[in-house]
């Protein structure tokens, strides 16, 4: 549906070059809620604007619905843009117009007749839950309500893609949650493909099925939601995940551990999907007479899947501890041995759920 091929974007400013995007390759399939995460300045905003050609690539191709955007005439490009909705961090509503007028603008541009506009806008305002605010002005609305107006406006022309440019970054966590649920509903009900850029990992966790991580103008990692959370490769990705999934042993506990004792071993276990629902650890400990001491535990829900983090101290003979370790490895549990407070990644982290 959307394909970015070898995209480069260079901005020229006062005779110096700024490379905003480097060799971007990305494919977004129909029905995806695709999330692009990165710190500010990573090039996300430039990237999302490639899709509706608000920014044009210096090199490379943008393909939307089998159309190469560089080949489109200005008229054809405008027609395509009507099929691509966009919402913004700061909503970009007309302050001088009511909610109803704001939402009807895309239809006015098309010369739609008044009755059709009235029916369509009433339906949209009902859908986003703002029917009672039709005659209000934007400055009378909360941030969440403004974004709902933005969403209704973006949907007015029945687009097949919705671009979300940091759509929840100006909202409080609770409002963010309700806007994300609305986006999910739009994806399901209207079968609209959604591309989201954000710097908030919880946005990715809540609604995205595919994720790309951007850093310094490049996509450094890409995969399904579970792939990324389960087995992040890049440090930046790990840092982002750490903002919402805590798997660090609190320092207070770490200081009490004796790493030189051969009869003790500290393991960080990662359970995913099925494994998270089985009593693997207690089974192993029972089988090899090892005493587990749970130091830290955390469970994260990833849209129906479960990601569990567990840090345990195993107490027993060195041989039995090793057997337990091996048993857990066989069961596809992600394991890190904690030594001297450092996590030593020494295992098959490739556990499939």
């Amino acid at each position: 549906m959307i394909e970015l091929k070898n995209i480069q974007k260079i901005f020229y400013k006062n005779s110096s070059e700024i490379q905003a995007l480097k060799n971007i390759n990305l494919k977004i399939n129909e029905g995806d809620i695709f999330g692009v995460i990165g710190f500010s300045g990573a090039g996300k905003s430039t990237l999302i604007r490639m899709v509706n050609y608000l920014e044009q690539p210096t090199f490379g191709e943008v393909i939307v619905n089998d159309q190469n955007l560089s080949n489109l005439s200005p008229q054809k490009l405008r027609l395509l843009r009507k099929q691509i909705g966009m919402i913004f961090q700061h909503f970009n509503l007309l302050e001088s117009k009511t909610v109803f007028e704001n939402v009807s603008i895309p239809l006015l541009l098309e010369g739609t007749d008044k009755n059709t506009i009235y029916t369509r806008i009433t339906e949209l305002l009902n859908f986003v839950g703002l029917a009672s605010k039709a005659d209000a002005y934007p400055d009378e609305l909360s941030g969440g309500q403004k974004q709902r107006v933005g969403i209704a406006r973006a949907l007015a022309t029945n687009p097949f893609i919705l671009l979300c440019d940091e759509a929840t970054s100006a909202l409080d966590p609770q409002t963010t949650g309700s806007i994300l649920q609305l986006l999910k509903e739009i994806n399901k009900k209207y079968k609209i493909t959604i591309l989201i850029i954000t710097h908030e990992m919880n946005v990715i966790r809540e609604i995205c099925n595919r994720v790309a991580v951007m850093e310094k103008g490049e996509i450094i990692e890409e995969g399904s939601l579970l792939d990324i959370f389960e087995n992040p490769q890049q440090q930046t990705t790990k840092n982002f995940i750490r903002t919402i999934v805590h798997d660090e042993i609190p320092p207070v506990i770490l200081n009490t551990l004796d790493f030189s004792n051969k009869n003790k071993l500290v393991l960080k276990l990662k359970f995913i999907g099925e494994n998270s629902q089985q009593a693997l650890l207690s089974e192993a400990c029972y089988q090899y007479s090892v005493q587990p001491n749970i130091l830290f535990a955390n469970v994260t829900e990833l849209q129906g899947d479960i990601l569990g983090h567990l840090t345990v101290e195993l107490n027993g003979t060195p041989e039995n501890i090793e057997k337990t370790h091996q048993y857990l490895l066989q069961k596809n549990v992600g394991i890190e041995v904690v030594e001297n407070g450092n996590h030593n990644n020494c295992t098959n982290n490739q556990s499939d759920s």
């Binding site: 405008r78 009507k82 966009m86 700061h90 001088s96 541009l109």
Partner: protein, 217 residues
Amino acid sequence: MATITTAQIIKAILETLQMVSISLLLGALGGIPLGVLLVLTKAGGIRKNTFMFRSLNNLVNIVRSLPFIILLVAIVPFTKLIVGTSIGTKAAIVPLIIYIIPFIARLVENSLLEVNQGIIEAAQAMGATTIQIIRYFLLPEALGSIILSLTTATIGLIGATAMAGTIGGGGIGDIAISYGYQRFNTEVIVFTVFILIIFVQCIQNFGNHLAQKARRH
């Protein structure tokens, strides 16, 4: 009043109103599009055109540098060509329009630049044409501010009409100068200035009121 009659005052008020309203109307018709063009062709505008922007920008600056009294005299042949005479109220209106167009253009440019760039981006993302962006986004969002700009321009015009007396344009300002200032008649000066104050107050209040309404529609 010792030296001027009520009929003279009424005539002068009507002359001022005539000069101000006609030159404001025609000045706005010229100045608003010029202001829009300046914003569109500016670096970062949606129809960037450096040559056009520089030309218009310089033209606006040059005309605005001319003191009105100089402009008034300098374009006498042009005025004669347009209205067939170089004296009287009609003749004063031509230089007033030339004077006010770049002034309005500059004020409108500033008003339009205040419009949130994000709104223009949203318009482009909706597939709006340049004309639609001006009609549905730029002008409605800037309307309140443009009305205040026109109010400022109107008051500027009242000031300029005082000098229209030089070519027999008449008006309140002319009475203030020729009957009051030049004949050392303090009473006339005070009286005419009082009328001008009422004019300016009314226009400013009316402008503020309209601008307030425009921000909500």
